[in-house]
Symmetry: C3
Subunit: 102 residues, 3 copies
Amino acid sequence: MPTDHIVVTFTTDDKKLADNMCAEVIAADLGQCAQIEGPITSVFRWHGEVHTEHEWRVEIETTAEKANAVVEHIRANHGIEVPEVVISDIEDNVMIGGSAPA
Amino acid sequence: MPTDHIVVTFTTDDKKLADNMCAEVIAADLGQCAQIEGPITSVFRWHGEVHTEHEWRVEIETTAEKANAVVEHIRANHGIEVPEVVISDIEDNVMIGGSAPA
Amino acid sequence: MPTDHIVVTFTTDDKKLADNMCAEVIAADLGQCAQIEGPITSVFRWHGEVHTEHEWRVEIETTAEKANAVVEHIRANHGIEVPEVVISDIEDNVMIGGSAPA
């Protein structure tokens, strides 16, 4: 049972970018696993107008130690200058089982 | 970094209602953004029988100050008399970046 | 408003297994409702290689009292020997309304 379990989340309208980001982060051993959900519909205001677009939500499971490196990777490779990234500490959740082969 | 970050969540089996609710809430400046996921499969008991239906999950990002108005809007416009609405305070999460234009 | 609200989450690459598990758990009154999201894309390392596969995420809403029975049911019926199961206590969330007929 990990004592330190972090999920880093961001969205993008570019599925290919989501795929690449996950593959790179996992290949670099910056996270245990990643999941991509979507397409989801995002609704937001931009310069006073309501916009709707399709996006993909990416969740990367990592540790406190590696979370900053994951965020740096996202910021360096995301198409948006300052993407919104959410870091959730879900340490309070109880995790049972799961395999973690190298 | 917001000190107050709330997500209001509900589900509906009516995609058009989900779309309209998001557009109205964002247009009225009751939330920063909204996301619609689905279709998801919901399984529940109703009068002793197991039912399965397709639904859409709506998540509206807002502030503590505006959360009640969002909930009131959902309850007034949702097709079900008393829909289940979940209000999550995710203030403990760390949010990095993201743009918030008017 | 429940004082005790638990969500048990797991993933599987078998949609039929997800459907059956939800129907069984709800029929046995081990949870109030269940939701299946997907397909989602999972990216992970396995013996040094990056793998990608489609999975389904299952979330079962239950109570603290019944959570262990839900986990036991999942472990006994999941195709993987030791599936990863996450138990989240979302008691701090505020739940409004929702119907809970027998």
